[in-house]
Symmetry: C2
Subunit: 332 residues, 2 copies
Amino acid sequence: MSKKGNTIFFKRPPRILSYAAVCGSKEKEGIIGSYADITLDDDMYGEDTYEKAECKMLSAAISLAVKKSGKREQDIDVLLSGDLLNQIISASFAARDYDFPFLGVYSACSTMSESILLGSALIGGGFADTAVCATGSHFASAERQYRYPLELGCTRPPQSQWTVTGAGGLVLGRADRGIKVVCATMGRVCDYGVTDVNNMGAAMAPAAADTIMRHFKDTDTEPADYDLILTGDLGALGSRIVKDLTWEKGYDISSNHVDCGEIIYKVIESEFQGGSGAGCSATVLNSYILTRMEAGLYKRVLFAATGALLSTVSSGQGESIPCISHAVRLEI
Amino acid sequence: MSKKGNTIFFKRPPRILSYAAVCGSKEKEGIIGSYADITLDDDMYGEDTYEKAECKMLSAAISLAVKKSGKREQDIDVLLSGDLLNQIISASFAARDYDFPFLGVYSACSTMSESILLGSALIGGGFADTAVCATGSHFASAERQYRYPLELGCTRPPQSQWTVTGAGGLVLGRADRGIKVVCATMGRVCDYGVTDVNNMGAAMAPAAADTIMRHFKDTDTEPADYDLILTGDLGALGSRIVKDLTWEKGYDISSNHVDCGEIIYKVIESEFQGGSGAGCSATVLNSYILTRMEAGLYKRVLFAATGALLSTVSSGQGESIPCISHAVRLEI
């Protein structure tokens, strides 16, 4: 049995054979700009709708990751993907262009880590040789679906985050070298009663803290064992909350915790909290982080993407926001 | 390596420890009425919104399946679930009530087989001892989200299907006896260009045919090797199409193919085509079919649930309907 608590272990860890990221015009001004494979000048990406642009970014990330892996498309055993759009249409429509099977997954902005977790399990169990894990988001399609039409010009409260326009993907497989997926912790749904849909960071922080601390316990490790504890898109405020929540339980992650949403833009906290969206952790991981891991700058990274499992209907009916975080440990 | 083509094999097949189904007032008049664990007189299930009623049905199916398995909740390693509502809120909100981890999956009405496939892979790979796989749907929440408000009283075209009000779930695990999940075939996205959102059966039939025929090839079997080839919710018309499509390729499934959507109601084809929705195959499988398998009436069943991966946005933007079918082979 390759599990302890909620953590699964890979005796022969799958490797990240390749990775790719596509990002939008706002995102390329930030930290990932010089690391992403494709940076857009026009966020419409030559398409006539936001949704098609989002799908095209995801397709580009998948195709590019496959190409960089040296594998042919017929060598890919499965694609695991999902996204924020209703019925995960970006992933489904992207998958339509490939001959390999597709397993749709959804955990909002923690889809990147859920897909890596499941892809690694399929490879670790001997059910696949190669798996593509990918996700993305688009600012304009997310605003239209979750909030207001852009044309309305609504102001944004200071606790809000900016949905990242971008997509990232990676190819998992067998190799003698490269970044390993050593183990993964499956997230539980946490709901601390936050109802403010503009404050996702506060809603998601408890789920991130829960998963990170269970990962420490299940693997007998502590914060200092990691070069980086990377959450998905808590933003600046959420990042502070997760540090507090873990500190209260005796884990000091303040010196090595970084949040993808906090670093992707130049954050001015009085204005907004940083990036969010499934594309946030997907682009940061699949460009900046994995490049630096390969360069030896980080040897062991705990990647805990975070997702808010709400919908406009659930919030409209007065529900609070259940959240989740799945974590994967990467080593080189 | 436990795979061939797109099919994965379980050397030590996980067993179905228990199953449970909840169905609505219309559904209990049909074939599953005397097999479902809970049958509702009022489809609101004591809740004040359709969505909450859907979530409550799913929770009931999960809790009942766990109870019938003889396991305690703390023995459950993971819940795999998804549903048709935007951002799979039924599954996410149901998962909130449990302490075990949650992996959200989405492949529309083939979510039941995708969750069994992934749950079996987690158990087969040694990453879990027990997994709950569940999904559901509700006629009224689906109508509101995908079509028209019920209050509008729109007429339905004869090629349309009726979204099933119901939920079903099962517990996979290790045991010496019971129904085995022997192997599973991962679906590919098929899109034959159907754009009529009222004709899901025609849209999904090619995906079902593709997966069923690849299953035959990957496992060196033929239609006569199965007591039942069970599709998800093609309805009466889609069922005829899948028989035609497989017959054209040399596979005659006409004598042992049955569609959950076709049998769940008393279908009058000039009126409508039968049931659909993630709850359709979930309730039929987790009541009528598994009960009859346990009674020895079917020894080998290929369960190929089918999903239409559209959204109102994709259809509104003129897109055709990509479809998928994941198949699992059950034996006793």
